[in-house]
Subunit: 244 residues, 3 copies
């Protein structure tokens, strides 16, 4: 057997797939000696997902040769949800399946058929953003939900003191001013689809803090990093047009 991992604290993976399963239908996980990697682009090319799970995160990690595991994302997420807090999660593969074992009161085995993936792992564009803002993931999630009252589009703005989240519609306007505490040299703003941000933030429990990389009418880079440094979930989101 060339691939076998075990994880007691499987919340990390469950949290990540809360959003991943909302954004893409099929995924290819790539496993090698370093860990497990995911790169995926949604069908409409609006959201790019990257996930890195270092081998140190796992209670047992064996991967003798690079392995690709392509599965239906919704089905995989449904199975993950069956994993109880007290279970140990084990993933292995056979020729046709990803095999998910949950070891607790009983041993529960789920075989998930692997699928043929048309495209290989895409490579995300490298973008340099002028502003980085750190904010609690659950606060950011609440703030984005606030914005959905008036519009489908939210503006992220950064000035010297504040990270400003705002939206406006026929019935009114909403504006949230968050003191960012960063050393900002360039004032920027960009607009994004609220629904896409809400999908991404379904994984807000993945990490306590979220880092936002923001530029002027540029894609948003949203990174959640485990405090141990052993895992990272990232998104790149295309901006909406700003009318002047």
């Amino acid at each position: 057997m060339t691939f076998k991992i075990e994880l007691i604290n499987h919340k990390v993976i469950k949290n990540a797939f809360e959003s991943i399963s909302k954004i893409v239908n099929e995924i290819t996980l790539t496993a090698d000696k370093e860990g497990i990697h995911l790169r995926s682009l949604d069908k409409s090319h609006i959201t790019f997902i990257t996930m890195e799970l270092n081998y140190k995160l796992f209670d047992q990690y064996q991967c003798d040769e690079p392995t690709k595991i392509a599965v239906d994302c919704t089905e995989f997420t449904k199975i993950l949800k069956k994993c109880k807090t007290t279970d140990t999660l084990e993933l292995t593969v056979d020729e046709d399946n990803l095999i998910i074992l949950m070891k607790g009161d009983a041993t529960r085995k789920f075989k998930l058929r692997q699928i043929d993936m048309e495209y290989d792992n895409p490579i995300p564009p490298q973008i340099e953003h002028p502003c980085n803002i750190t904010i609690q993931s659950d606060l950011l999630k609440d703030y984005i939900n606030d914005m959905s009252l008036y519009s489908e589009v939210v503006q992220f703005g950064v000035d010297e003191d504040y990270f400003i989240i705002s939206s406006e519609g026929q019935n009114g306007e909403a504006e949230i001013k968050y003191i960012h505490g960063e050393n900002i040299k360039e004032y920027v703003k960009s607009k994004f689809a609220i629904e896409k941000l809400q999908d991404m933030l379904k994984s807000s429990k993945f990490a306590k803090n979220t880092i936002l990389h923001i530029g002027e009418d540029m894609p948003l880079k949203l990174i959640m990093e485990l405090t141990t440094g052993d895992g990272e979930l990232g998104f790149l989101l295309a901006p909406r047009l700003s009318e002047e």
Copy 2:
């Protein structure tokens, strides 16, 4: 600025609007030196709402001249729901908007467009009821829900010892006998639409106790009063016909 109020314990307003937003679509709040007043009649003229919030209820209250604030009730309630327990709620007005500020981890500002109200604040009819019953608001809410098993109409009856809530339908009957402990001189009964009572009791957390003013085939007056005496939410509900 002529109008500005601040409230830490904003649950009071949130609780009141749980029912108000179910009954009327648009409201005019009238603010003066004494406090904030609301009088509103639903479109089908079945339920009359009155609300009085004394200036003492607020942590800061400034109202230099009488001010009318007309807004869409559903939109206002949606915004109020965004207010977190730890936030301080601030209301101000500009020429066109009611401005709702929530001060917590960040400062969140919502602007809600004011609307043109066709009718001014209506005046509720003055009615003298022979019986007054005091009952815990949450118990009354449960009892009304019990009644919905069999019928859309409930009868409130009062005799020497009991406040009797009853309904009957094709499948059976329900009857609740509550010892009222009041000195009752006239036995009365009236019928009401269960759905309308359920709408009113969505605000059951506004006050621990509810006072019911009941007469023979008369409108019901239902009053919830804050224990501090600084606020009151009241309803007048048209009766349903009793067949003999």
Copy 3:
């Protein structure tokens, strides 16, 4: 009055009717000196329900002569749900009704019309099964839910060491191996409709443990017994065909 029972710990009855109301529309409860009995067969003749509640279970039990109580099962269950934890539940009958009294803050009385039952209490077939497995009711409920990922049919298998629950579909397979700890002499397997098992296990809180009587392509007998021995809820479920 020939029939009157009182029960403080009414959870037992509420739990039992969680599943009964999903399986049959109308029931006839038979009360005699020994206790209350229920035997009922669903319309499609797939599930047979038996319930025995010994007179010792009740805080007060009076039944001078055998009494039949036929009611709509959904309506009865709706009323039972209104019973609060702190209420005492009292059941009596008059000529036309089952009378349900809940004594707490107030006395709440529900009259449920008795109905005409076409068929009398059916008698369940006597079947001897080669294998008996005991398993925690809530675990069994979870395991059956796991199976619904892939198929509408689950297989129960028993070998020397394991009770094996499995299902398979187009997307994959699931298999749960539970160490049964029994002395098994015959290896057997049978298939059942997952939905029917889920209906039965809505009453999983009735008793901590469930005993499964399993044979080769035989009906399943599922018994939940109160630890006090004063009550039992049982089901007999027709098997699905196994293709070879």
